[in-house]
């Protein structure tokens, strides 16, 4: 077994950081689900709100990407 305890900590941390993706998945799912339920109630208004849908998805998704970035930093930079 080579490596040291700092390396081990970094790998465990990288794994833990992946849990953030779950949060982003919940967020995106909630946004799209709510959009769909709203769109099915009033389909005529749905078309005008797709831009807002994508903005919401982008904001929510950014935090999942941040966790991915932290995992990358722990794997390769620390």
């Amino acid at each position: 077994m080579e490596g040291d305890i700092v390396q081990m900590g970094a790998y465990i941390g990288a794994g833990l950081a992946c849990m953030g993706m779950g949060g982003a998945a919940v967020g995106v799912g909630s946004i799209v689900g709510n959009y769909l339920s709203g769109a099915l109630r009033n389909p005529s208004a749905a078309q005008s709100q797709t831009a807002m849908l994508f903005i919401g998805i982008a904001f929510s998704e950014a935090f999942g990407i941040f966790s991915f970035l932290v995992a990358l930093l722990l794997m390769f930079a620390v």
């Binding site: 831009a51 994508f54 903005i55 904001f59 998704e61 990407i65 941040f66 970035l69």
Partner: protein, 250 residues
Amino acid sequence: MAAEAESETGLVFHPMEQFKIEPLFGEGPIHWYTITNQTLWMGIAVLVIFLLLVVGTSRRALVPSRIQSIGELAYGFVYKMVEDVAGKEGVKYFPYVMTLFMFIVVANFLGLIPTSFSTTSHIAVTVVMALMVFVGVTILGFVKHGIGFLKLFWVSSAPLALRPVLAIIEVISYFVRPVSHSIRLAGNIMAGHAVIEVFAAFAAILAIAPLSMLGIVAMYGMDMLVAFVQAYVFTILTCVYLKDALHPAH
């Protein structure tokens, strides 16, 4: 057991190898003027945009050819987006938004060609675009409204006691904009390409090779979608920031 099987089949994961920047000609250190694979693929992206928008539409046929209609579709798409989000005043800044959109979408799709290099997967590239938007929008806001631009941080629809707290949050979220703006694009593209590479490494094990090929195809399709959606999101966020600069009051 599993570890032995892996060493026998020679399973190697190098998901980050594909993002390595290398000089095109010869070896050696990379200076700011060194021509790298990054430079090459950015140049190809610019060339493709030129061919699509300048050469493709040069005949100005009344009944557009295929290339011309792609160019017209892209133009109309971005124009409508700017008009819808940033309003009539924002149309003045349409050329910049169009430039951003075309560069990102073409660079993303060029990165999907096997053995090519995805330029937008590097934060160094995306952060420059995001910072240009951020600095440009901030200057525009101050030029248009002077000190009144700071009303952007003062949420007048909130209760008075809450406003200072909200102002701090608004200021922080304003300065996080270029960070999230750039990392969203680079991270999405990088993650997509790295996942394809991980699936490709699994193809070395015969038992799950068909599964891994299916995985590659599925992820490739997903990345096609992501390549377009991320360009769209980057552009629409630019429009949103532009709207904030043009109409700072809440």
